[in-house]
C-alpha cells in the first residue's frame, strides 16, 4: 500500500471522499507492490467495500455474455500456462488483488531460465567450435573433453590419390590375387613377430565394399590383416584407449599405430583401400611390420 498513514490510524473515511477511479488506482498500485512489501489488507478490504456499495462495477455486468467476455479477457488463465485456477492462497480477497502480481514472478523466472539456457548454449557452441578448430590445427586445447574423440579412431575422408606402386608383394602370400580386386599397392606385410603362422583368409565382395582378410595365429594369439577396397568413404571406427596415436611414415604413407587395451592396431589408407593390422604385438613390432610392407 503506497500510503502507510491510512493503515496506521485505521481511519478510512478519506476513501469515502474519493471517487471510484481514484480508489481503483489505489488498488492497482497495491497489486504492483514488490514482493517484499506487504499490502494493508484492512485498507484494501475497505476500499473494495466502498466500491461495491457504490454499485458501479455491477452495472458493467448486467449483460451475462459481456461479463463472460470481460472475465475471459481479464482473468481467465490460459491452458498453456500450466497453472491450475486453484493454486492460490485460501484468502479469496487476496486472490483478486494479487492475480497480476502472481503472474509477474513466473514470467521473470521463465525469462531468467531462458537467459541461462541461451548463455549456456552460446558457451557450449563456442567451446565446441574452438576445440574442433584447435584439433584441426593440431592443438589439444582441452584434453579432458577432447579425450572422448580419441577413444575411437576413424578415417573421415579418403581424398588424396596415391601413387599405385608395384604389386609384386601381393604374390608373396599367393592366396588371393589382390590385383583382381583393384589392389595394386603394397599392403601386405612380409614380416610378423616370431611364431605367427598363416591360418586362413576371407574374401567378401559386395558392391560398396570388398573385404580381404588374412589371419595368422600363434598359440592363443591372432593377427588379422584387413584390406577393404572402398567405393565410398569409410566410416569405420577403430577402438582405442586414450593413449596417443603414433604416426609412422613408411613407403610415403602415414600409418597410425594405437593401443586398444592389450591389442595394437595399425591403420592406414592407400589408394582406394583402407588397411589395418590388428593383434597382440608391441609398438616396436608394429613399426617392423609396417617396414616389411614396403
Amino acid at each position: 500500500m503506497p500510503d502507510n498513514s491510512y493503515s496506521a490510524i485505521r481511519s478510512y473515511c478519506q476513501f469515502d471522499k474519493m471517487n471510484t477511479a481514484q480508489l481503483k488506482e489505489i488498488l492497482r498500485r497495491d497489486s504492483q507492490l514488490p514482493e517484499n512489501e506487504d499490502s494493508d489488507m484492512d485498507a484494501i478490504l475497505y476500499i473494495m467495500d466502498v466500491i461495491a456499495k457504490r454499485g458501479e462495477d455491477c452495472a458493467e455486468f448486467t449483460n451475462a455474455e459481456k461479463a463472460w467476455d470481460i472475465f475471459n479477457e481479464s482473468y481467465s488463465i490460459q491452458e498453456s500456462d500450466g497453472k491450475s485456477l486453484y493454486e492460490f492462497d485460501s484468502d479469496e480477497l487476496n486472490q483478486t488483488a494479487s492475480l497480476d502480481r502472481d503472474r509477474q514472478p513466473n514470467t521473470r523466472h521463465f525469462r531468467g531460465l531462458l537467459r541461462v539456457a541461451v548463455i549456456a548454449a552460446i558457451l557450449a557452441a563456442t567451446l565446441l567450435i574452438g576445440t574442433v578448430s584447435a584439433y584441426a590445427m593440431g592443438y589439444d586445447l582441452w584434453g579432458a573433453v577432447a579425450d572422448w574423440t580419441k577413444d575411437i579412431f576413424s578415417f573421415t575422408t579418403v581424398s588424396e590419390e596415391k601413387f599405385y606402386g608395384e604389386a609384386g608383394i601381393v604374390d608373396a602370400l599367393n592366396t588371393i590375387d589382390l590385383i583382381e580386386y583393384g589392389v595394386t599397392e603394397r599392403v601386405l606385410p612380409t614380416w610378423l613377430p616370431d611364431g605367427y603362422k598363416y591360418s586362413g583368409s576371407d574374401l567378401f565382395e559386395k558392391s560398396a565394399r570388398t573385404v580381404i582378410r588374412y589371419f595368422y595365429t600363434r598359440d592363443n594369439s591372432e593377427i588379422c590383416v584387413s584390406i577393404v577396397v572402398l567405393s565410398s568413404p569409410t566410416m569405420r571406427h577403430i577402438e582405442k584407449n586414450d593413449s596417443d596415436v603414433i604416426i609412422y611414415t613408411a613407403g610415403n604413407t602415414e600409418h597410425y599405430i594405437m593401443n586398444n587395451l592389450e591389442e595394437t592396431n595399425i591403420a592406414w589408407v592407400t589408394g582406394n583401400c583402407e588397411c589395418s593390422i590388428i593383434g597382440d604385438f608391441s609398438i616396436e613390432e608394429a613399426k617392423q611390420i609396417i617396414d616389411s610392407i614396403y
Binding site: 579425450d147 569405420r236 577402438e239 584407449n241 586414450d242 591403420a267
Partner: protein
C-alpha cells in the same frame, strides 16, 4: 548486475557438467572384444535398400556381428526419421557369426521408396567367455533409387 553474475555462474556450471558427462562416457570406450567395425546402407535400384556391416574382434570371439538393426526412412524435404524395419536375432539369427575373429557382409534388404532417404542404427556386438561389448553404430544416409 547481481542477476547477470548468477546467470553466468549457472551457465558455466551447466557447461562444465556437460563436459564431465562426455568425459565420463569416454572411459567406456576401448574394448576388450571389439577391434573395429563399420556399417553402411546403400540403394541398389528399384527403391531397394541394402544394409551391410563388418566387425573385427580382438581375437576369435564366441559370437560377433550385430544384435539389432533399426532401419529408418525419411521423406524428401522432411526432417523426421521414422523406423520402418527392425532386424533382430529372433528373425535373423545369422546376424551373429560364431567362433570367428571377423564377421563381414551380412546383408539385409528392404523394399524402400525411390527418392526417400534411409539410414540404420546397428548394434554391434562381440563376446567371448560370457562377457561382451556392444557399440551402437549409425550408418551413412542413402537415397533409394
Amino acid at each position: 548486475m547481481k542477476n547477470t553474475r548468477r546467470t553466468v555462474c549457472i551457465a558455466l556450471i551447466l557447461v562444465f557438467a556437460l563436459g564431465m558427462g562426455t568425459t565420463a562416457s569416454a572411459a567406456l570406450t576401448a574394448s576388450q572384444h571389439l577391434a573395429s567395425y563399420e556399417a553402411q546402407v546403400w540403394g541398389i535400384g528399384s527403391g531397394d535398400i541394402c544394409i551391410w556391416y563388418d566387425v573385427v574382434g580382438t581375437g576369435t570371439m564366441d559370437q560377433i556381428g550385430a544384435t539389432e538393426i533399426v532401419l529408418q526412412q525419411k521423406v524428401a524435404g522432411s526432417t523426421v526419421w521414422a523406423n520402418v524395419k527392425t532386424f533382430d536375432l529372433v528373425s535373423y539369427p545369422n546376424m551373429l557369426g560364431t567362433n570367428r575373429m571377423a564377421y563381414t557382409h551380412t546383408e539385409y534388404y528392404y523394399s524402400g521408396i525411390a527418392g526417400y532417404s534411409y539410414r540404420a542404427y546397428v548394434m554391434i556386438y562381440a563376446g567371448k567367455g560370457g562377457s561382451g561389448s556392444y557399440r551402437q553404430f549409425t550408418t551413412n544416409v542413402a537415397v533409394a533409387t
